[in-house]
Amino acid sequence: MSQTKTNGPVLAADGTPLKKSLARALRVEKTRALMLIAPLLIFVLISFIIPIVSMLFRSVDNRIVDNTIPYTVAELAKWQPEGEALPPESLFEALYYDMFLAAEAKQHTRLGSRFNYEESGFSSLFRKSGRALDDLGKDYLKELKAVDRSWGDADVWYDLMSGGEGATRDTAFAEAVVGRISRLESTTLNAANGFAPSAEIVALLPKTAEAYTTFANFTWLVDEASRRPGEEPYSAEELAGDKPWESVYPALIQDLQTADVSAYAGPQADKLRALAEAKSAFAPPVFKSTFAEIDKDWADAETWQIMKAHSVKYTNGYFLNAVDMKRTPDGAQIQDEDKRVLLKLFGRTMWMSLVITSMCVLLGYPVAWILANLPARSANLLMILVLLPFWTSLLVRTSAWKVMLQQQGVINDVLVWLGFLADDDRLIIINNATGTIIAMTHILLPFMILPMYSVMQTIQPTYLRAAKSLGATNWTAFWRVYFPQSIPGIGAGSILVFILAIGYYITPEIVGGNKGVFISNRIAYHISTSLNWGLAAALGSILLGAVLILYWAYDKIVGIDNVKLG
């Protein structure tokens, strides 16, 4: 062997150390592979993984309550319920102003339906209250007008609130109000485009300023902006011509009880002073009785307790509902008897999937065995009988079963014709669990046969012969030699069939009637009919969790890389 330099690193042809050169080559290869994968990975992540994750997030998301009635939520947090005692006046006041804005934005019914999922009656309560809130303000407007008619004029209000030309505007105050409107409308609005009250008036009449600023910015940034897209935008001049919402009048009365207007020198100061002098004539608003007049439910402490229980931002309420429990003021409790359906439905989904899977094993095993042990030519011919249903549209097979299983269908007709059944005693095998099991066993059977077949093909027939020549009986040879080797096929097929079965929607929907539906059908119902998306998401999360566990097991047993099709 010739003497070479043994010191120092081994070099590649271009003089760089071999280690470095190899590392670079590896890096290039990795980058190239990732570049090829990247487009698809990003596509799947964005259009599949993220939508599913965000859908699952809906199962805990309860921000709608805080976004719609933030002041009420804050007051509810402070309130400690004691027996039948009603919450303090401040809570009713907060709800009045929250609800007023929500009703103007037409969001109060959405919140009503949200609470209605927990306790029926809320939906109509909220709708009714939203309509009736104007009356309080209208009454106060009459009283204000009795002092000075001009309180009914839009420009007087604008003048008072804006503080006239050159007044210092309180932009921070406006931003807070606009931020609240943004959360309510689930958009981002820019306070700089809207109205800001004068700093002086905010300090003097805080409630009035807030009620007016809310009105002004909602009208300016939301209502009018959506009414005239692409046209001349709304302006301060137009705002000065728009009558404020009725909520500003009770707010003004409230403010006058405490405000000292004698030092005020801004616009409309004389009118405000005249009003302050007459203030003893006005009864300050009692929101408690206002609400109690609208609906007696508001005078019931339980209404408030339910609202308090569901006023958190992130709730476990939907998950509790999904397992037939409910979130109450006293913690999680079992759902009322008549509403307990979901656990039963979960149980039925599991049970029927198990039955379907076992039926598939029972029917699939002999077929897979005979396919694997017949000579290739006949096996291929018989394979067509398995592959044709596999390739046929799911809807075709489902409609075929609908045709077969009906009371006037093929199976019943044949049985009647053969005399096994009386004509008036036909089997009811559709629109119940039997129908679902028969149809789904047929539909999923190929998914059982194909993995079993591919495992059985690899089992050497000589093993069986060897066992027999060593004295095993037929049964022993099968049970001790052949069967253990075919277990991976059974496992793979069973998990596959089970995963597919528990998520099935179409077939149970068509042949399952009421008694043969799965949890998927319930999810679809909540998404498209009852619109209780949070509950649908919670049910979906539980179902997905079950599937992922099975998927993990499948990966351990078979390996996702080894999934074969056709």
């Binding site: 090829l36 994968i37 487009p39 259009s47 993984i49 044709l388 249903p389 046929t392 099935y504």
Partner: protein, 403 residues
């Protein structure tokens, strides 16, 4: 297959047992159809045993005996109930004649190992009968749909005219309805627009990614694989709800910000959703094809001066093409057959064929569905054939004999 075992004639009691059992079984059906099961069993068994005795002891001519039973069965059936029963009778006669000689000559032993005991032989044939029944279970629903789609009535069941093979009982009117009804035609057209485009997207992206995944050093290979296969694993209803929320936002954005036409946006939404669903199938089939791909071929191509793009199109692509096409077929059938996602993501103007069938099955039940089903069965037979041919080609390319 050559015979394994030399055969010999069997004693009459065995023939009587087998043929008697056969007769009893079918006698049961005719017995119950005519009012009395046990009588049918007795008469059937006696008839078959008598027949076997006559053939074995008196006629001694196989061809003559089998021909006679076939004709006699047909004539009896015709006398009893016209053409349909004549067909059944003829078939039964032929099978009965065959069975008698099969048992008498001991032919059932011919193709199985000589050392089997009698109950092993019995199990051998019993097992085949069980498998036969399961195969019948598998294929019957599809076979039942085909004749029913030619029903002249608006029924989902066989009419007496159909059973008499009366031409008046059959018609093409459901097919006519399918081809002339606007609703069906529009949904068919929608399916033909959506499925191919979705397939092209999933095949293009999926093939590239599968090639990337088959490289030797891919960081996080298992995680990437799991993500890409997830659309196949996640229950469709969950995918559908997730996509429902996502695509309604995307749709609003495309309509509002990009100013696209509402209809176009609808198609884009459904196509993208279906493309995602088809991706796992492409990944799986193409990866499976790439496992058998000889990497030295690309190196050889590079060695001869081909750049990576040329290598891909001239060397790699032709070899993995069968896998790509079969993945594409899977993706196509996934989209063509999909109803849950389109139900949630699409709007009425994107109604596809399966959607139309689904509403048809739920609401206004019309046998046009069966005509559509028949057409779809024909399409799937065509796809199945294509796939089988591709598989053979792929194996030939890789130097394996078609199995």
């Amino acid at each position: 297959m050559a015979a394994l075992t030399p055969i010999s004639r069997k004693p009459f009691w065995l023939v009587a047992l087998i043929t008697g059992g056969f007769g009893a079984f079918f006698g049961l059906f005719f017995g119950t159809a005519n009012g009395s099961g046990p009588m049918g069993v007795l008469i059937g068994a006696a008839l078959m045993i008598g027949l076997a005795f006559v053939y074995i002891a008196l006629i001694r001519n196989e061809r003559l005996g089998r021909g006679m039973t076939f004709v006699a069965g047909g004539v009896l059936g015709f006398a009893a109930g016209g053409i349909p029963l004549a067909v059944i009778g003829g078939l039964l006669g032929a099978v009965a004649g065959w069975l008698i000689y099969w048992a008498y000559e001991g032919r059932y032993r011919s193709y199985i190992a000589p050392y089997l005991t009698w109950y092993q032989v019995l199990w051998h044939y019993g097992f085949r009968v069980i498998c036969g029944i399961i195969f019948i279970f598998l294929i019957t629903p599809i076979l039942v749909v085909l004749p029913l789609s030619f029903n002249a009535q608006n029924f989902f069941t066989f009419t007496p005219e159909m059973l008499r093979f009366d031409p008046a009982g059959y018609s093409l009117k459901h097919y006519q309805d399918f081809f002339s009804n606007n609703e069906w035609q529009r949904s068919f057209k929608n399916s033909l627009i959506i499925a191919p485009i979705a397939t092209v997207i999933s095949v293009t992206l999926g093939t590239l990614a599968a090639i990337g995944l088959s490289q030797s050093h891919v960081p996080g290979r298992r995680a990437i694989m799991a993500i890409m296969i997830s659309p196949m694993i996640v229950p469709l209803i969950i995918s559908a709800t997730g996509m429902f929320f996502f695509y309604s936002q995307i749709g609003n954005w495309m309509e509002g910000t990009l100013g696209l036409d509402k209809n176009l946006v609808g198609y884009i939404k459904v196509i993208l959703a279906h493309a995602v669903l088809g991706i796992p199938f492409v990944i799986i089939t193409v990866t499976a094809t790439l496992v058998g791909f000889d990497r030295s071929l690309t190196r050889a191509a590079a060695n001869m001066g081909a750049d990576p793009v040329t290598t891909f199109f001239r060397v790699q692509m032709p070899l993995i093409l069968p896998g790509v096409i079969s993945g594409g077929l899977f993706a196509f059938i996934t989209s063509f057959d999909e109803v849950v996602v389109v139900l949630f993501v699409g709007s009425a103007s994107q109604k596809t064929l399966p959607w139309q069938m689904f509403t048809g099955l739920r609401e206004q039940i019309s046998p046009t569905i069966l005509a559509v089903a028949t057409i779809l069965v024909v399409i799937s037979i065509a796809l199945l054939t294509t796939l089988e041919l591709l598989r053979r080609r792929s194996e030939r390319l890789r130097g394996m004999s078609p199995g």
